[in-house]
Symmetry: C2
Subunit: 413 residues, 2 copies
């Protein structure tokens, strides 16, 4: 089965928003073995949508459409689809009842405009939206499936995963497909590929390995296509184990996990508490850790010592050493760890100090240089790193490397 | 002039990357008065690209193509374009010389694969890439302009802004267009639109006002289309002043500025220093401030008091009050400001404490509740806010509201 994704909305064509929906949809379709051959964004006009539908249906069996279903936008997508297939619209009582119930809960009544949005095309299958007002509309015509979804990301995701995919698996012939995602940190794509040369040679042709690099981490995805899900799971068990044995402690997690959350699990298991002391990363490591719910069980907090006076006064970094070696130095980050252990009152601290740019670099310490230290009351390790690809990327990279140093330290602690 | 944007790459169609290029291109084209009627993403195959070209040229005079120009990808875009217009390829010495010079600088030689990428279609105009290897290729055929750019964002942006736009302005009739962007924080789109009712009524039809809302802030863009840039600038001076008079202190800046940077300017002018004390925002406010270069001149640092022990031990929040009122309370955030003023040693502190979810809420303090306080040694103000749209959005929203409270406090300080 081959699909096209059609996103509708003037806001996409004036560049006011980045279309993240279509990337998410493409990823999910690929995961269930449906290849996406094209993505099209069309304006909020009938002509635009019709042109895009004509283009999409020439190339694909499944056309996923998002956007243009809101009551405020005159339902241009629904009307256009109905016109395109010559389908009358009828009042869909169930959608109205759901809407009425939803509004009643928040003490509002259904406006005329909202009531008008409850008309649906004859012959279409209506899939209820549990997270919003506009349902998904499923139309089968010309041996193809057209599915119209609202553009609000969390409604679209809910409808696609919970309503559309189960139905799609019933009506379409989709070969079983099984994925495993293995998360690594500490080496680049090329170094990992070198380590996995032998592994890739023994992989059978129905199992693919994809490298998905992001800043400081690489996700590896094993995808197996076949006839029996059970057989594929067993095969992946085998190959995943081979892969894990080869990569050792480069692997920090699986699936949708993230590096600070994986660190949190180690900390909880070892009953250890964590603090951070950040200069150049300016609170970004704290942010990455606390984006995970429940971080307060192991993470106590951070001292963002951006100005040197905070380093000397609050963290008691020795002023003479600071002047002598500079804020971006091994001695400073080690002193920052020591200060953090006492002041935050935790078992382990990670500290950063660097020059993130665009100014402030020197010949000895160019923009992009950072020192990172991690340690406990017994042992502190420090490392100098370098990455200069713009201030925001330098900050993010330094944060990820610091988190990974922390992870490695914990594995040995 | 009407344009289509065509992005090429399997990585877009498997959802591995979000296509941010096309949104950026659409925005820039709109800014110079070129409407984008469609965006298409095609796979790295000749058929896919040809289908997309056929679709795009039916609808537009200008087709901007990105991606598929790298040497590693077999130059599928360039070969396909050459084939599409029946143009032979020839060895483009200048591109080779530039590549040779680029590699020589980093001590590398030009590989066979790289040399092969120096062939260009006859009849095409080659625009040199100052930031990378692949130049832009400009082809005029069938009364339309086709422009092929590399997909690497900073190379694409450079070529479009520095090479393509100046040339486009010469050959195409593009009416002068002038923009002003006014940045506001503190009110939603609807409230601002209500305030601007009279203003919008007096706006002449060749000047448009667009609302570009993001979390906690709204950008307002005035766009004037006409025959003389000088006249338009004068008109916009007048209308911008009207708008500023109406909105008063909702306006925090102009153009590409951001809220923490605008706050930095006030702090520098008033010679004041700033610290932050964050619980629920977990370092995100510190991060937003320190993403701006030069923040260390006014920003000293943050104490991220995620765990209550940091609030009581380091910030000396009264333990009894904390237990009695809870961490998410007026008394706690006020005490956090006081602790921050002393411990960080600054003139002004902003503090946050809230429940960001998904768990931890109660009937009295549901998920999404946050207390914010800002103050100096003489005066502290506090406010309770509420927003529940998922943990990451709750954190970002609380951060932006806190920064805006700080800005308002500074304006009156």
């Amino acid at each position: 089965m081959i699909a096209s994704v059609l996103t509708i909305g003037d806001e996409i064509l004036i560049g006011q928003i980045v279309d993240t929906n279509s990337a998410w949809i493409a990823q999910k379709l690929n995961e269930i073995g449906i290849r996406v051959c094209a993505k099209i964004s069309a304006a909020d006009t009938q002509n635009s949508i019709v042109d895009a539908l004509n283009f999409a249906k020439q190339k694909s069996d499944l056309i996923i459409i998002t956007g243009g279903l809101g009551a405020t936008k005159d339902d241009i997508t629904k009307k256009t689809l109905a016109g395109y297939f010559d389908l009358e619209l009828y009042f869909h009582q169930e959608t109205y009842d759901r809407m009425h119930g939803f509004f009643a809960k928040v003490g509002r009544t259904v406006s005329e405009m909202n009531r008008n949005s409850c008309y649906m095309p004859y012959d279409a299958i209506i899939l209820n939206n549990e997270k919003g007002l506009a349902p998904a509309i499923w139309i089968e015509k010309e041996n193809k499936i057209f599915i119209s979804l609202p553009g609000v990301p969390f409604e679209m995701k809910h409808l696609l995963e919970d309503k559309v995919f189960p139905k799609l698996k019933l009506v379409a012939h989709i070969s079983p497909i099984v994925h495993r995602t293995i998360l690594t940190a500490g080496e680049g794509e090329t170094q990992i590929a070198e380590k996995l040369g032998d592994f890739e040679n023994i992989l059978p042709s129905h199992i693919k390995l994809a490298y998905l690099p992001t800043l400081g981490t690489v996700r590896l995805r094993l995808t197996a296509l076949g006839e029996s899900e059970e057989v594929l799971e067993k095969e992946l068990d085998f190959f995943e184990k081979q892969l894990l044995d080869t990569l050792g402690d480069l692997v920090y997690g699986f699936g949708e996990n993230n590096l600070p959350n994986a660190i949190g699990t180690i900390l909880k298991n070892k009953k250890l508490t964590l603090g951070t002391v950040e200069s150049c990363t300016g609170g970004n490591i704290a942010r990455l850790i606390t984006l995970n719910p429940g971080a307060s069980t192991y993470y106590f907090g951070s001292i963002v010592s951006y100005h040197n006076s905070v380093k000397t006064n609050l963290l008691q970094v020795d002023e003479n050493e600071l002047i002598q070696n500079g804020a971006v130095s091994e001695s400073t980050v080690i002193a920052m760890v020591k200060g953090g252990l006492t002041k935050i009152g935790v078992d382990i601290v990670v500290a950063t100090s660097g020059i993130m740019g665009p100014d402030g670099g020197s010949e000895l310490k160019p923009v992009g240089t950072a020192w990172i230290a991690v340690g406990n009351s017994e042992n502190i390790v420090a490392k100098k790193i370098f990455m200069n690809r713009g201030r925001d990327i330098n900050i993010e990279y330094t944060s990820i490397v610091a988190l990974n140093m922390l992870r490695k330290f914990l594995l040995e602690a």
